[in-house]
Subunit: 215 residues, 2 copies
Amino acid sequence: MHHIDVRIEKDVYAANDRLAAANAAHLKEHGVRGFDLLGAIGSGKTALIERLVPLLAARGLAAGAIAGDVYGDDDFRRLVALGIPAVNANTGTECHLDAHLVEHAIDDLPLDRIDLLFIENVGNMVCPTDFALGAEKRIVVVSSTEGDDVVNKHPMMFRGSSIGVINKIDLAPLVGCNLDRMEADMRRYNPEIRVFRTNMKTGEGVAALLDAVLE
Amino acid sequence: MHHIDVRIEKDVYAANDRLAAANAAHLKEHGVRGFDLLGAIGSGKTALIERLVPLLAARGLAAGAIAGDVYGDDDFRRLVALGIPAVNANTGTECHLDAHLVEHAIDDLPLDRIDLLFIENVGNMVCPTDFALGAEKRIVVVSSTEGDDVVNKHPMMFRGSSIGVINKIDLAPLVGCNLDRMEADMRRYNPEIRVFRTNMKTGEGVAALLDAVLE
């Protein structure tokens, strides 16, 4: 039983990796740069897209987005309100997007009219880590209200990401969150990670973050 | 491939359900009432245990706890500091506890010295729903800072829980969270659910919640 289980798990990951590579090639062919947005529910992933889109427009760059959620269209409607091409990807019961879902979502996007694609994963700090989607960078967003032990509890999420965002810095004193611990934990798990502190309500920190995204 | 996959999935759930029933019987034999605590990272599950333990002690009831996390002992250390028997259950890479992990954790607890057992799951709004652990009630904790769409995004979590806790109500105005929407969504997905609004920082709402837990 256990052996069969492990073999299937390996097959699933290998199949996903092949599809992710195909997605990456497909995006590249159309000159679109893809970015995964990861993080817990309410960390600020959609809010980050809302902040980045106007900054990108000011640089002459057009974005599209995929909204990944188990259920509902709350995030999708916020993306549509931004006036960008967006696709709602509901996973039903799954705790993460996979490359196959993203392949279908990409098919519904006008790739020749966008320069960047934000792929917002299901709000979850565990499941998405094993599933490549075809993006060039992973950006993980955590917030002070999740507690300053959130990074330590989820090493894999940070090992696989090139940018770490610490959001809701204005609320840190109210929830007794030590932002320095969060940042130190990120660097301990991934010495290469670029860390930014943001407040999506005001836009603080987002311009510097955008430079790192586009680098 | 798909057929094998589904068969194994069913076997995994059936095996887990059998172990969960055995856990429930084991706890009952020792006169211990078990409660699952579910919710996202940072929602306030550990804080709820911290608030409940002294209230229980005042009623002559002793609690024990299992701290479920992917990695680390942040929550476990908080439980130990409460002076209650506690076990740290790290899942490694899994996004949820299962009945087998809980069975081993229970073996490490002095069941004859406790009246209640809190089983704090991994911070995750998706994965834990399918895995019974052997508790008599599921309590799901969400917080205002997760956004007022958090309930709508996770129907299954609320359908399977008998108590819904909305925490960090003091921060709702600061993050633009509509608490009434959260409560209405809970009742829409589960008309039987008991809903409580709390502030774990002050203890507001916790005494009423405890009455419902013990009912």
